[in-house]
Symmetry: C2
Subunit: 84 residues, 2 copies
DNA sequence: TATATATTTAGACAAATATCTAAATGTTTT
DNA sequence: AAAACATTTAGATATTTGTCTAAATATATA
Protein backbone atom coordinates (compact mmCIF):
# COMPACT_ATOMS: atom_id res chain seq x y z
CA UNK A 1 0.00 0.00 0.00
CA UNK A 2 2.88 2.26 0.87
CA UNK A 3 4.55 1.66 -2.49
CA UNK A 4 1.32 2.34 -4.34
CA UNK A 5 0.66 5.67 -2.68
CA UNK A 6 4.30 6.58 -3.10
CA UNK A 7 4.05 5.83 -6.81
CA UNK A 8 0.84 7.81 -7.19
CA UNK A 9 2.29 10.81 -5.38
CA UNK A 10 3.82 12.40 -8.47
CA UNK A 11 2.09 14.20 -11.31
CA UNK A 12 4.41 12.80 -13.98
CA UNK A 13 3.79 9.24 -12.86
CA UNK A 14 0.04 9.76 -12.78
CA UNK A 15 0.25 11.15 -16.31
CA UNK A 16 2.19 8.10 -17.40
CA UNK A 17 -0.63 5.96 -16.08
CA UNK A 18 -3.15 8.07 -18.00
CA UNK A 19 -1.10 7.53 -21.15
CA UNK A 20 -0.91 3.78 -20.65
CA UNK A 21 -4.64 3.73 -20.06
CA UNK A 22 -5.07 4.45 -23.78
CA UNK A 23 -2.46 2.00 -25.09
CA UNK A 24 0.77 0.18 -24.34
CA UNK A 25 3.83 2.24 -25.11
CA UNK A 26 7.60 1.86 -25.22
CA UNK A 27 9.80 3.75 -22.80
CA UNK A 28 10.85 6.09 -25.60
CA UNK A 29 7.29 6.81 -26.70
CA UNK A 30 6.39 7.62 -23.13
CA UNK A 31 9.43 9.85 -22.69
CA UNK A 32 8.49 11.75 -25.86
CA UNK A 33 5.32 12.95 -24.14
CA UNK A 34 7.24 14.75 -21.43
CA UNK A 35 9.60 17.64 -21.25
CA UNK A 36 12.03 15.62 -19.18
CA UNK A 37 15.13 13.51 -19.79
CA UNK A 38 14.80 9.83 -20.66
CA UNK A 39 16.68 8.72 -17.54
CA UNK A 40 14.19 10.61 -15.39
CA UNK A 41 11.27 8.93 -17.13
CA UNK A 42 13.02 5.60 -16.80
CA UNK A 43 13.24 6.20 -13.08
CA UNK A 44 9.53 7.00 -12.87
CA UNK A 45 8.75 3.84 -14.80
CA UNK A 46 10.83 1.89 -12.33
CA UNK A 47 8.87 3.26 -9.40
CA UNK A 48 5.56 2.46 -11.09
CA UNK A 49 6.83 -1.04 -11.85
CA UNK A 50 7.94 -1.65 -8.28
CA UNK A 51 4.46 -0.67 -7.15
CA UNK A 52 3.08 -3.17 -9.65
CA UNK A 53 1.07 -0.42 -11.28
CA UNK A 54 2.65 -1.23 -14.64
CA UNK A 55 4.36 -4.23 -16.21
CA UNK A 56 7.26 -4.27 -18.66
CA UNK A 57 7.84 -6.57 -21.58
CA UNK A 58 10.93 -6.55 -23.70
CA UNK A 59 10.51 -6.75 -27.45
CA UNK A 60 13.81 -6.48 -29.28
CA UNK A 61 15.48 -3.26 -28.35
CA UNK A 62 12.23 -1.81 -27.03
CA UNK A 63 10.59 -2.26 -23.69
CA UNK A 64 6.83 -1.97 -23.78
CA UNK A 65 4.96 -0.89 -20.73
CA UNK A 66 1.37 -1.76 -19.88
CA UNK A 67 -0.86 -0.62 -17.09
CA UNK A 68 -1.85 -3.18 -14.45
CA UNK A 69 -5.35 -2.16 -13.46
CA UNK A 70 -5.80 -5.00 -10.97
CA UNK A 71 -3.56 -3.21 -8.49
CA UNK A 72 -5.87 -0.21 -8.60
CA UNK A 73 -8.42 -2.48 -6.99
CA UNK A 74 -6.41 -2.40 -3.76
CA UNK A 75 -6.50 1.38 -3.65
CA UNK A 76 -10.17 1.30 -4.52
CA UNK A 77 -10.93 -1.00 -1.62
CA UNK A 78 -8.96 1.17 0.78
CA UNK A 79 -10.80 4.27 -0.36
CA UNK A 80 -14.15 2.53 -0.08
CA UNK A 81 -13.65 1.89 3.62
CA UNK A 82 -14.08 5.63 4.08
CA UNK A 83 -17.33 5.98 2.22
CA UNK A 84 -19.91 6.58 4.95
CA UNK B 1 -5.51 16.02 -6.59
CA UNK B 2 -1.85 16.65 -5.97
CA UNK B 3 -2.50 17.70 -2.36
CA UNK B 4 -4.67 14.67 -1.77
CA UNK B 5 -2.12 12.17 -2.99
CA UNK B 6 0.58 14.02 -1.11
CA UNK B 7 -1.45 13.77 2.06
CA UNK B 8 -2.16 10.08 1.56
CA UNK B 9 1.50 9.31 0.93
CA UNK B 10 2.42 8.79 4.56
CA UNK B 11 1.59 5.87 6.83
CA UNK B 12 1.03 8.06 9.89
CA UNK B 13 -1.44 10.26 8.06
CA UNK B 14 -3.32 7.27 6.71
CA UNK B 15 -3.52 5.90 10.25
CA UNK B 16 -4.90 9.23 11.46
CA UNK B 17 -7.64 8.92 8.86
CA UNK B 18 -8.39 5.39 10.05
CA UNK B 19 -8.70 6.71 13.60
CA UNK B 20 -11.02 9.52 12.60
CA UNK B 21 -13.12 7.02 10.67
CA UNK B 22 -14.24 5.63 14.04
CA UNK B 23 -14.85 8.93 15.83
CA UNK B 24 -13.89 12.59 16.01
CA UNK B 25 -10.86 13.20 18.18
CA UNK B 26 -8.89 16.10 19.60
CA UNK B 27 -5.33 16.72 18.47
CA UNK B 28 -4.06 15.40 21.80
CA UNK B 29 -6.13 12.22 21.64
CA UNK B 30 -4.79 11.59 18.17
CA UNK B 31 -1.22 12.26 19.24
CA UNK B 32 -1.61 9.77 22.11
CA UNK B 33 -2.07 7.00 19.58
CA UNK B 34 1.36 7.54 18.10
CA UNK B 35 4.90 7.25 19.27
CA UNK B 36 5.71 10.68 17.92
CA UNK B 37 5.89 14.22 19.25
CA UNK B 38 2.79 16.39 19.32
CA UNK B 39 4.28 18.96 16.97
CA UNK B 40 4.89 16.25 14.41
CA UNK B 41 1.29 15.07 14.65
CA UNK B 42 0.15 18.67 14.46
CA UNK B 43 2.09 18.99 11.22
CA UNK B 44 0.46 15.86 9.81
CA UNK B 45 -2.96 17.19 10.77
CA UNK B 46 -2.15 20.41 8.94
CA UNK B 47 -1.29 18.52 5.76
CA UNK B 48 -4.49 16.48 5.98
CA UNK B 49 -6.46 19.66 6.57
CA UNK B 50 -4.91 21.45 3.61
CA UNK B 51 -5.91 18.50 1.45
CA UNK B 52 -9.44 18.86 2.84
CA UNK B 53 -9.33 15.30 4.05
CA UNK B 54 -10.17 16.43 7.58
CA UNK B 55 -11.82 19.46 9.16
CA UNK B 56 -11.00 21.15 12.45
CA UNK B 57 -13.33 22.69 14.97
CA UNK B 58 -12.22 24.50 18.07
CA UNK B 59 -14.01 23.75 21.32
CA UNK B 60 -12.49 25.60 24.26
CA UNK B 61 -8.85 24.70 24.51
CA UNK B 62 -9.31 21.62 22.35
CA UNK B 63 -9.40 21.30 18.61
CA UNK B 64 -11.51 18.46 17.36
CA UNK B 65 -10.76 16.86 14.06
CA UNK B 66 -13.25 15.07 11.82
CA UNK B 67 -12.77 13.15 8.63
CA UNK B 68 -14.20 14.64 5.44
CA UNK B 69 -15.25 11.64 3.42
CA UNK B 70 -16.60 13.67 0.51
CA UNK B 71 -13.07 14.40 -0.68
CA UNK B 72 -12.42 10.69 -0.92
CA UNK B 73 -14.98 10.73 -3.70
CA UNK B 74 -12.50 12.60 -5.91
CA UNK B 75 -9.87 9.94 -5.42
CA UNK B 76 -12.46 7.27 -5.98
CA UNK B 77 -13.48 8.78 -9.30
CA UNK B 78 -9.88 9.06 -10.41
CA UNK B 79 -9.22 5.43 -9.55
CA UNK B 80 -12.37 4.34 -11.32
CA UNK B 81 -11.17 5.73 -14.64
CA UNK B 82 -8.61 2.91 -14.61
CA UNK B 83 -11.04 0.09 -14.05
CA UNK B 84 -11.19 -1.66 -17.41
C1' DT C 1 -3.65 36.81 38.28
C1' DA C 2 -0.70 32.97 38.18
C1' DT C 3 -0.38 28.28 36.73
C1' DA C 4 -1.62 24.35 34.13
C1' DT C 5 -3.24 22.37 29.85
C1' DA C 6 -3.85 21.99 24.62
C1' DT C 7 -2.15 23.03 20.47
C1' DT C 8 0.54 25.30 17.03
C1' DT C 9 4.56 27.84 15.10
C1' DA C 10 9.47 28.38 14.35
C1' DG C 11 13.78 26.73 13.33
C1' DA C 12 17.09 23.00 12.70
C1' DC C 13 18.54 18.75 10.62
C1' DA C 14 18.78 14.17 8.43
C1' DA C 15 16.68 11.37 5.00
C1' DA C 16 14.12 10.85 0.82
C1' DT C 17 13.01 12.45 -3.80
C1' DA C 18 13.22 14.28 -8.56
C1' DT C 19 16.07 15.74 -11.75
C1' DC C 20 20.21 16.07 -14.62
C1' DT C 21 24.50 14.48 -17.44
C1' DA C 22 27.61 10.85 -18.54
C1' DA C 23 28.43 6.17 -19.06
C1' DA C 24 27.00 1.32 -19.57
C1' DT C 25 24.18 -2.40 -21.60
C1' DG C 26 21.82 -4.65 -25.07
C1' DT C 27 19.80 -4.92 -29.84
C1' DT C 28 19.53 -3.96 -34.70
C1' DT C 29 21.36 -2.63 -39.04
C1' DT C 30 24.86 -1.71 -42.42
C1' DA D 1 32.51 -5.64 -36.81
C1' DA D 2 31.18 -1.00 -36.39
C1' DA D 3 27.69 2.34 -35.94
C1' DA D 4 23.14 3.61 -34.56
C1' DC D 5 19.35 3.19 -31.56
C1' DA D 6 16.67 2.18 -27.05
C1' DT D 7 16.92 1.97 -22.47
C1' DT D 8 18.92 1.73 -17.98
C1' DT D 9 22.46 2.51 -14.35
C1' DA D 10 25.55 5.48 -11.80
C1' DG D 11 26.65 9.48 -9.56
C1' DA D 12 25.80 14.32 -8.43
C1' DT D 13 22.83 17.97 -6.69
C1' DA D 14 18.96 20.85 -5.25
C1' DT D 15 14.48 20.49 -3.18
C1' DT D 16 11.09 18.46 -0.34
C1' DT D 17 9.74 15.94 3.61
C1' DG D 18 9.36 14.08 8.36
C1' DT D 19 10.94 14.60 12.62
C1' DC D 20 12.67 16.86 16.77
C1' DT D 21 13.12 20.55 20.63
C1' DA D 22 12.04 25.09 22.18
C1' DA D 23 9.05 28.82 22.17
C1' DA D 24 4.56 31.06 21.34
C1' DT D 25 -0.48 31.32 21.67
C1' DA D 26 -4.80 30.50 23.64
C1' DT D 27 -7.97 28.69 27.03
C1' DA D 28 -9.28 26.96 31.64
C1' DT D 29 -8.76 26.71 36.53
C1' DA D 30 -7.06 27.58 41.26
Amino acid sequence: MNDIFKALNDATRREILELLKTKDMSAGEIADQFNMSKPSISHHLDILKRADLITAEKSGQFIFYSINTTIMEDVLQWILTFKK
